[in-house]
């Protein structure tokens, strides 16, 4: 009677659309199938409107009807037909199961009767007792469920198929209950518990079958070995998914004499189980049984005795293994043995937080959770990443581990139970607990629905709009409110994630303020002891001290205190990410106190959490920067503005210095201002460096520029105080040129910005006539603009008497001027420049060393170098770079220096002499007791090896290769490679070692505030340096190894080219 599909027969498009069909033509064709001949098409369409995916449900319905015509009877009953629509429309896999095994159609057509062998269909539904599952599954393999050690009578693939069919029958019944419940989010915990118990029952049946095999293999002995299966992870905590690996641990006990034999039997029993649950058989497998959480992981024996487990956990286990144990619960096998295991092992979980390394492994775990692991499906992850299920679980477990030591009531396995318990013991606030639990249930519900479709293990949101639409319908009760399309679903999911993310912070960190009056009535209040526990778990060494700082920071009615109450909890977490949380917190307190209520500080706290995070990172890493910040708190304002963290160009600094000098004619005040500018610029560079904004070369140049500006300023102040202001000076022509243009030729900043009204008079100063021009020449690393924090400044003072001046008087004046420059930069100021590291100038590299005159005329230099200079003095000249003084003199000096240093290969005798000196330096200069492998400067493959090699090659080749004419070590090294004087791979080795040593050297001072030329030995120091060098937490040993390797290799290269071995 069925006509071919036509516009007029069967349901119209409108009813199909409103029922949710997407392919109407196809739907109409299907509805016209012969199987539906006797049924009312309109009824079918109406019923299938409850199906999450009506198209899929219709096909499955027809196919199922073909195998089990009795299915037609459900149409008479609204409840049963709804179950059919929900099941077939949400789970293709379970629909296929029924088609494959139509005997189980009773679950749909006669649920009341089916309930006798499917307990979840009892009237109590999900609240029914799960205990019969075990009996049902054991009976499926022909085992006596009342026996102490049930043994299956079915064997092999027959047993496997029977077990799996019985499992899927129960699973189908459960899915029906789940999918038809009006509030599936509320039902989720019960569904998960059923899933866990069903998995336990399946493993029990698998064990019965495995035992039958063992009896055959080992005879009577098999009866003398008991096995218990301990569920771990979600199965242990009764919060399992529809499909997931089942994590287990096996434990055995036996009355056999021979332990090895007993262990062999236990291993056979344990490994046999998965043959029945998972291996190939006529009905497909269930899920993987994963025993890798056992002691020693996949390398460990499969089963152990209770004693052996205990032994392992007491002696060897890692912190994460205890975290895994938190969920352990016997799920199958001998119940007494399972209890023994739990009694022996579970208490250990709660003492694990006393173990060494707990804090650092917690930190690592925390970072793993937060790390958005590069993942192509990251945007679709329900489980991992910020705000995912893992985030909830981790937060809860962490709180359990931290507080479970003293609080018995939080020692529970299940995540939701734990949230309850934590709330009841006031570790989490009531509303936070509710939101957290709600979010968790919702994420789990989504996961369940996604897995139900194909019974595949996945935690990804679907990406096709249709699939999202189906998911939205499946995730709400039939006919209940809730997001019903893809966009609404996605947006609710994203909101939930975001909520979880902020709750994590709120739940873990907020209560750290409990001892203050900062928290509202609704928030969880911790006891002081609990606050200390949490701080200690975060890595604070002195929780009591930290509590005091927290109180000081968050108490009061000021706006600052109010803002700090909001931000401090997260900041405590950020500080804890660094190597020294306690020091960082103290630093923050000091900063906050010295900044008082400056508006931008409050603004930063309020608006720029990125700046606050950066601040915490710096405070926890660097006492050098913290100290400077304390005295220059305004610098904290730069943290939120990267453009403030760009090193100030030398010219700009010089302009500012000139302006200061003109406003502060008193030399003492002028030099104080100059030193303040230097300190500020060093701090700027340090902060930018610590924030990862600068590369190492830029840092070296920025620090060099700051020192140079200060020296230039000091020279001007010195000249002014000796000779008076330039405009009023009398004397010979050729006055000083005051800019950095000596080396780059740009003369834009001119000589002096004096306004003509200058009344600079230092009463104590006698006006002298200017007899000579003085030039300050930087040597060593400052010559190459490659200095580190806290470096001394190696210099030469060069002068040139004015025409007609008495040479001796000019010489005396040059020395006086030089001394004054040196002392201006180091002598105490009033008021003092707090926290300053004065710039110490060192002129010991001058001809004749300390015995020679402090300053020499250029002619005298020429004379000295022509007659007396040794090769190492020529070598030292390679680094010479004029930094302050007359531009003309600078040029003349450079021309002369070039004629000496780039004169051409100094010849074998000179090179031999250089090698000899270097060898002697290696033997003698290293401080007594220092380890050559760890000395950054003079050690094996350290800075000095690289620099000596580069300089020697410069001496030999710079005449023929103008590219080598540079004062910088790294530019010279690069040029040596480009000019093919050094092989590229050797250049790379040297470059690596030099950079690493420089970085560590900077790290030493940044971390401790003290200069040190040795790679630290103490682990905490090394750890901090490792962080400074960009290593991850806990990689101190790696840094050490890396340093020792790099420098060893550098030494090999050095020896090859320098000593020619």
């Amino acid at each position: 009677m069925v006509a071919p599909a036509s516009e007029n027969s069967g349901p119209g498009r409108k009813s199909l659309v409103s029922a949710g069909f997407s392919d109407w033509t196809r739907a109409r064709e299907l509805l016209a199938s012969p199987e539906l001949e006797t049924l009312d098409q309109q009824t079918i369409v109406r019923i299938l409107a409850d199906a999450p995916d009506p198209d899929q449900a219709l096909i499955l319905f027809i196919r199922l009807l073909e195998r089990a015509p009795v299915l037609a009877t459900v149409l008479e009953d609204p409840a049963r037909s709804r179950a059919v629509a929900r099941l077939l429309g949400a789970s293709e896999a379970l629909g296929e199961f029924l088609i494959r095994r139509p005997d189980h159609i009773d679950l749909l057509v006669d649920p009341a009767d089916a309930a006798r062998t499917a307990p979840v269909l009892e009237p109590e539904g999900l609240a029914a007792d799960t205990a019969p599952l075990r009996t049902l599954l054991l009976e499926a393999v022909g085992a006596d469920a009342t026996a102490a050690r049930p043994v299956a009578t079915l064997r092999g693939k027959e047993a496997a198929a029977a077990l799996r069919i019985a499992y899927r029958r129960q699973l189908t019944a459960l899915a029906i209950q789940d999918l038809t419940s009006r509030d599936p989010r509320a039902a989720q915990p019960a569904v998960s518990a059923w899933l866990a118990d069903l998995a336990g029952a399946a493993i029990e049946a698998g064990l019965a079958a495995s035992r039958a095999d063992a009896v055959e293999q080992f005879g009577q002995d098999a009866d003398r070995v008991d096995l218990a299966v301990i569920g771990m992870g979600k199965c242990g905590a009764r919060e399992l998914n529809y499909i997931s690996d089942v994590d287990v641990i096996f434990v055995h006990a036996s009355s056999l004499e021979d332990d090895h034999h007993a262990a062999a039997i236990a291993t056979a029993l344990a490994s046999g189980i998965s043959k029945y649950t998972t291996a190939a058989a006529p009905e497909q497998g269930l899920w993987e049984i994963d025993a890798n959480l056992r002691p020693e992981g996949k390398d460990g024996v499969l089963s152990r005795t209770v004693e052996s487990h205990g032994e392992y956990y007491r002696r060897w286990a890692h912190t994460w293994e205890f975290q895994a144990l938190l969920k352990a619960r016997p799920i199958a096998g001998d119940p007494g043995l399972g209890r023994d295991y739990i009694d022996a092992i579970w208490p250990l979980v709660w003492t694990s937080s006393e173990r060494d390394g707990f804090v650092s492994s917690v930190q690592q775990m925390r970072r793993r959770v937060l790390d958005n692991i590069a993942h192509q499906n990251r945007d679709r992850e329900i489980k991992l990443g910020a705000g995912g299920l893992r985030d909830v679980e981790f937060t809860v477990q962490l709180l359990q581990l931290v507080h479970g030591k003293t609080e018995d009531s939080v020692r529970v396995r299940n995540t939701l139970d734990a949230i309850d318990a934590l709330e009841n013991s006031s570790y989490i606030g009531r509303s936070d607990a509710e939101s957290f639990a709600g979010a968790y249930r919702y994420l789990r519900l989504l996961e369940h629905r996604i897995q139900l479709v194909h019974l595949r293990r996945t935690h990804l949101m679907p990406d096709k709009p249709h699939a999202l639409w189906v998911l939205a319908r499946a995730a709400k009760g039939p006919g209940e409110p809730g997001p019903s399309d893809a966009a609404a679903l996605t947006s609710l999911w994203k909101r939930t994630r975001k909520g979880v993310r902020s709750l994590h912070e709120k739940i873990f960190y907020r209560p750290l303020l409990s001892t203050t009056a900062a928290l509202s009535a609704d928030e969880a209040k911790l006891t002081p002891e609990a606050v200390r526990q949490r701080l200690a778990a975060l890595g604070y060494q002195d929780p009591a001290g930290a509590v005091k700082h927290i109180e000081a920071l968050s108490t009061g009615v000021s706006r600052r205190a109010a803002l700090q109450r909001q931000l401090l909890p997260v900041m405590l977490g950020w500080l804890a990410n660094g190597p020294n949380p306690d020091g960082g917190l103290l630093g923050f307190r000091r900063l906050s106190e010295s900044l008082g209520s400056s508006p931008w500080f409050l603004g930063m706290l309020r608006d720029s959490s990125a700046a606050a995070e950066r601040l915490c990172q710096i405070l926890s890493l660097s006492s050098y920067i913290s100290d400077m910040l304390e005295h220059l708190p305004e610098a904290a304002a730069w943290l939120g503005r990267d453009r403030e963290l760009v090193p100030m160009p030398f010219e700009t600094q010089w302009q500012e210095i000139q302006a200061k000098m003109s406003r502060h004619p008193d030399p003492d005040e002028a030099i104080r201002q100059i030193r303040l500018i230097r300190q500020r610029e060093i701090l700027r560079t340090a902060i930018a460096d610590a924030s990862g904004l600068l590369d190492q070369g830029t840092v070296g140049r920025a620090l060099s520029d700051a020192d140079r500006a200060a020296v230039l300023g000091a020279l001007h102040v010195a000249e002014n105080s000796l000779f008076g202001h330039p405009d009023q000076r009398t004397g010979l022509p050729g006055g000083p040129v005051g800019t950095g243009t000596v080396s780059n030729g740009s003369n834009s900043t001119g000589t002096s910005t004096g306004d003509g009204t200058n009344t600079a008079k230092s009463p104590a100063t006698v006006r002298n006539v200017e007899l000579t021009d003085l030039l300050v020449v930087a040597m060593g690393r400052q010559g190459g603009r490659e200095i580190a924090y806290g470096s001394d400044l190696d210099v030469l003072f060069v002068h040139r008497p004015h025409d007609g001046a008495d040479p001796e008087a000019a010489q005396r004046q040059a020395v006086e001027l030089s001394k004054l420059v040196m002392s201006l930069l180091t002598r105490p100021c009033r008021p003092p420049v707090l926290g300053e590291r004065p710039l110490v100038m060192d002129a010991d590299l001058r001809p004749e060393g300390k015995k020679g005159p402090l300053a020499r005329s250029l002619d005298s230099f020429r004379e000295y170098y022509r007659r007396w200079a040794e090769i190492w003095e020529v070598q030292a000249l390679l680094k010479a770079r004029p930094v302050a003084g007359s531009a003309e003199l600078a040029e003349e000096f450079t021309t002369w220096a070039d004629s000496v240093r780039y004169a051409g290969d100094p010849g074998p005798a000179a090179l031999r002499e250089i090698r000899r000196i270097k060898a002697r330096v290696e033997a003698e200069r290293l401080p007594r007791g220092a380890d050559p492998a760890r000395h950054l400067k003079l050690g094996r493959g350290g800075l000095s090896d690289v620099e000596w090699l580069v300089q020697t090659l410069q001496l030999q080749h710079a005449a023929d290769h103008p590219a080598l004419r540079t004062t910088g070590t790294i530019p010279a090294l690069e040029a040596l490679v480009r000019e093919r004087i050094l092989p590229a791979e050797d250049g790379e080795v040297l470059d690596r070692a030099w950079h690493l040593a420089t970085r560590v050297r900077a790290g030493n001072i940044v971390w401790s505030g003290k200069s040190s030329d040795v790679l630290p030995v103490k682990r905490q120091d090394l750890e901090a340096i490792a962080r400074w060098c960009g290593c991850e937490l806990g990689q101190a040993a790696e840094l050490e190894e890396d340093y020792l390797r790099s420098t060893r290799q550098a030494r090999q290269v050095f020896e090859k080219h320098f000593y020619g071995s």
Partner: protein
């Protein structure tokens, strides 16, 4: 305090143990021992025992000399040769820095690192050493300046009532009493030379066992009024003492070297492992043969393998694939014959395992097996066939090792440097010795 520690303390009490020795190993594999009074053991468990590492080879230098010994209670044993009068016990120790971190200078740590690398690749590493040694009348040389062996028997000889037979019986009993399983013991080819094979065990346990073994053998010899030596080559004219070791890798229960259908039943993994051993054999010779004297064994003829080669049951090859019954898949293994009896077992097994793993990882090609006796070939023939020589002296071996990034990585920078420093010093001292050979040969004529 954990149960294992309690057990140790209780046993000390019950058995009235008078001394507890804490054992650890220096960079050359010499056993170091500190004796504790029983009352101090509890404190040592809790906080470790501080010691001055500066005097121990390869631990530290003078300026950072404080180290901690952390006794491992699971290695607690009563030392059987001390009898019941004043029972003495021992525990192996982990060496820690003052911060409680594993010391980078601890040879055990070096081996552990390689084992965990193997584990990451899914392998368990088993070793089975055959340790040779000489039993002498005493430590002092005879009238001719040569050591005096206890007998004149030869390979597998049974000497009724012989000193050596008695000795081996005693030694084996003693070893079993201290928990070391012995597979095999027999008389070796040299006079007074013996071999005892230890049962298969994982490499770390084997290395611990070797350390214990050497002590036991020396103690038993002393009890008999004799002297036992593991010196690689105490007699110029007799065979040296080697420590051939059989290696196998297991992946779970299955032997990764075994493949029934392949040549010699040797799997691709096995071939690559051997290729790794051969490829790196020259770099690691300073470790496997660490004394000046070692090279007298290596180049002193006999069966010592001095050329880089492998063969199936070829006793002149450096690496040998022994015969075994094809149905015994589990016993597939390779034997490295270069090691001598005085090697530091921790470092030796670490470098050999690492070499093999590297062969597997980088899929080294295995050269042709050598069928003939390589030492019988002329040097040109050897060159033609591509058999390199192992280094001829400790000096040569050190020079090769110095340039080896591979060895540096396996040992870690600290042990690498300490080892080289120690060995360079040995060579420097040896170099200035005037030997009896020179006197005998030159004094009369020059």
């Amino acid at each position: 305090m954990d149960r294992q520690q309690e057990f140790v303390l209780r046993t000390i009490e019950d058995r009235d143990v008078r001394f507890v020795r804490l054992w650890f190993t220096d960079v050359t594999g010499t056993l170091k021992s500190v004796a504790l009074a029983p009352a101090e053991v509890e404190g040592a468990f809790a906080e470790g025992l501080g010691f001055d590492g500066s005097s121990i080879d390869g631990y530290t230098r003078i300026f950072e000399s404080d180290m901690l010994l952390q006794p491992d209670p699971s290695t607690f044993q009563i030392l059987p040769w001390r009898g019941e009068d004043e029972p003495t016990s021992r525990m192996f120790c982990d060496v820690l820095t003052p911060d409680g971190e594993p010391s980078a200078a601890d040879p055990r740590q070096v081996l552990r690192r390689q084992l965990s690398r193997a584990a990451d690749m899914g392998f368990t590493f088993y070793t089975h050493p055959e340790i040779e040694f000489y039993l002498l009348q005493s430590k002092d040389p005879g009238p001719d300046g040569q050591p005096v062996p206890v007998d004149q028997a030869g390979y597998f000889d049974h000497e009724p009532g012989g000193v050596a037979t008695d000795f081996r019986r005693h030694a084996v009993n003693m070893l079993e009493a201290i928990g070391i399983s012995v597979e095999f013991s027999h008389h070796e080819s040299g006079p007074g030379q013996n071999e005892i094979d230890l049962r298969y065990a994982d490499a770390l346990q084997t290395a611990d066992n070797i350390m214990t073994f050497r002590t036991v053998i020396k103690e038993v010899a002393q009890l008999q009024g004799n002297y036992a030596t593991f010196m690689p080559k105490p007699f110029g004219q007799h065979a040296g003492s080697g420590m051939h070791t059989h290696f196998s890798l297991f992946e779970g229960d299955s032997n990764a070297f075994f493949e029934p259908s392949a040549e010699f039943h040797l799997s691709t993994t096995g071939r690559r492992f051997i290729a790794g051993l051969l490829h790196h054999s020259m770099e690691i010779t300073a470790i496997t043969n660490q004394f000046v004297n070692s090279y007298k064994r290596l180049w002193g003829g006999g069966e010592a393998p001095s050329y880089v080669s492998w063969g199936h049951n070829n006793r002149s090859a450096l690496v040998r694939v022994p015969l075994y019954k094809p149905d015994k898949a589990g016993s597939a293994r390779v034997e490295y014959r270069g090691i001598d009896a005085s090697a530091n077992p921790y470092l030796t097994y670490a470098v050999l395992l690492a070499a093999g793993l590297k062969g597997i990882e980088e899929e080294y090609e295995l050269p042709e097996a050598a069928a003939e006796d390589i030492s019988a070939l002329t040097s040109t023939e050897r060159r033609a066939l591509g058999h390199h020589s192992l280094p001829g002296t400790l000096h040569d071996a050190l020079r090769i090792m110095e340039d080896s990034e591979f060895v540096a990585e396996v040992l870690g920078e600290t042990v690498f440097e300490n080892f080289l420093r120690n060995k360079r010093q040995e060579w420097d001292e040896y170099r200035v010795e005037v030997t009896p050979y020179e006197l005998q040969r030159n004094l009369g004529i020059l």
